[in-house]
């Protein structure tokens, strides 16, 4: 009787030890692995990582469902694909402390953009504290949520190339950066129209001059960068042709969002002249970095550099203006 009991106890103890070792081993092998899941199934697990300046951070990653990928916002890096059943690895170097955002770059549903996490980087480099600067639209006192309608519309697509032939007539202030960011094309056109010295030019010629002025801040390289970013990050909602008919547009139309309870709207149609020609570049810039706060428009502030956001704005103008310098007519 006693012997039997002892035997059972030994077997039980052995079992417990084996299970304990197995659990520990599994935890160890799972440690430090970043799991990517559809946002509705948890997104990044864990969602907060830590690193130290000067110490490379190596992350091993795998997907628990579909194709995802990993990139850090505002960092010049190649996104790393994360496939189910495979292990990917990335090594990051931080030379400045702060809070970084990492995100998924392969669309994985209408909520894909919510698939973001943070990397808290501590360490030296704090000597020069990062100055807080309010975003541009606040500094300019712009309300980016206000309705904006163009009061004047062109009768044909304005052409920067045609405008360039009248360049000598364009007063200098219209081509400045300050003017560009704070004026909608429609209001710029109105000021040109009210300018006595230009009264001999036709309405269409003034639109061409406006397109020329806008082209000064939308060089081909910026437009190209913007087009690439648009394709990867915006087309799923705003449509591959900018018409607001992306594959997720229907899902956003008048939907009450499951994840945050907000009522979403349809994505902006960038080919809509009345809407776009009434928007100042700084308004578009502000909307892109801050997002729609519940409308369905994501915030991209932590993801893109300022240069990238302006490149996107430049690209959006190509739905209204012909920036090509070859004259066609």
């Amino acid at each position: 009787m006693r012997e039997k009991l002892a035997r059972w106890i030994v077997i039980l103890l052995l079992l417990v030890t084996v299970m304990g070792v197995a659990a520990a081993w599994k935890a160890r092998s799972d440690e430090g692995i970043l799991h990517a899941r559809l946002p509705e199934h948890g997104g990044w697990i864990p969602g907060d990582l830590r690193a130290t300046v000067g110490q490379p951070l190596t992350i091993r990653m795998t997907s628990d469902d579909v194709t995802h990928s990993f990139a850090v916002g505002q960092m010049d890096m190649q996104a790393v694909n994360i496939n189910p059943g495979e292990m990917s690895e990335v090594t990051l170097n931080f030379d400045r402390p702060g809070k970084y955002t990492f995100y998924c770059t392969r669309w994985c549903g209408a909520d894909h953009w919510r698939m973001r996490g943070t990397i808290e980087v501590s360490g030296a480099g704090m000597e020069e504290p990062v100055k807080y600067e309010p975003p541009l639209y606040l500094r300019l006192g712009l309300d980016i949520d206000a309705e904006h309608h163009a009061q004047f519309l062109p009768s044909q697509e304005p052409s920067a190339a045609r405008g360039a032939r009248l360049e000598h007539r364009l007063p200098q202030q219209y081509t400045s950066w300050e003017y560009y960011i704070s004026h909608s094309p429609s209001s710029a056109w109105q000021e040109l129209r009210n300018d006595r010295s230009l009264s001999d030019l036709s309405d269409a010629e003034l639109w061409d001059l406006a397109a020329y002025a806008w082209a000064q801040h939308s060089p081909p390289e910026a437009v190209q960068t913007g087009a690439g970013l648009y394709k990867e990050n915006c087309a799923a909602c705003h449509g591959e042709t900018g018409d607001g008919e992306g594959v997720f547009a229907n899902e956003l139309a008048g939907d009450t969002h499951a994840l945050d309870g907000h009522a979403t709207t349809t994505p902006t149609d960038f080919s809509d002249e009345e809407h776009m020609l009434g928007a100042a570049p700084a308004v578009l810039h502000g909307k892109i970095i801050r997002g729609g706060m519940g409308t369905g428009m994501p915030y991209w502030g932590p993801i893109f550099t300022d240069e990238q956001v302006w490149a996107l704005v430049s690209y959006l103008w190509t739905y209204q203006f012909n920036f090509s310098m070859e004259v066609t007519q």
Binding site: D65, V66, T67, N83, R106, W107, H112, E232, E240, V247
Partner: protein
């Protein structure tokens, strides 16, 4: 029934049956056509899932993903498409030999991913016609058998 009649009957029936099931179909309109398919991929189906083409057709497939990253490959063809939502992917190829080829999603897209399939049907649906022909032959033979 006389012996030679029996032989004639079976001989005729079998050879007709062979002709129906094996005879090459008259080649219809060999001029290759251009066919365009816009396929919507969503978890876990292609729509449309069946593509009917003829041998020699220039087939263009545009793959539009509606939710997550999907892919498309066709058994027997060395082709591969990957479509992210918002980035339509497209390819053009020439349809080869008649037959039925399976379309497969080539990017893991969730639990039911292995069942995300479709079909490339090259050539008219011969099989159906041949089966109908054989059935008809059987009926006629049956009737004739009774008569004689």
């Amino acid at each position: 029934m006389k012996h030679w009649k029996k032989i004639l009957f079976w001989g005729l029936a079998i050879s007709l049956g062979l002709v129906i099931s094996l005879a090459p179909m008259p080649v219809k309109a060999t001029s290759s056509n251009q066919k365009l398919f816009k396929i919507q991929a969503s978890r876990f189906a292609f729509s449309p899932a069946v593509l009917a083409v003829n041998p020699g057709d220039q087939v263009t497939i545009e793959l539009v993903s509606q939710d997550v990253v999907h892919g498309l490959s066709i058994d027997g063809y060395d082709l591969h498409l990957v479509a992210d939502p918002g980035q339509t992917a497209s390819m053009t190829f020439t349809a080869g030999q008649a037959g039925s080829y399976t379309l497969r999603c080539s990017e893991t897209c969730g639990a039911m991913h292995p069942f995300m399939v479709g079909k490339l049907q090259v050539g008219g649906n011969d099989l159906l016609w041949r089966a109908a022909g054989l059935a008809l032959l059987a009926v006629i033979a049956g009737v004739w058998w009774k008569r004689v």
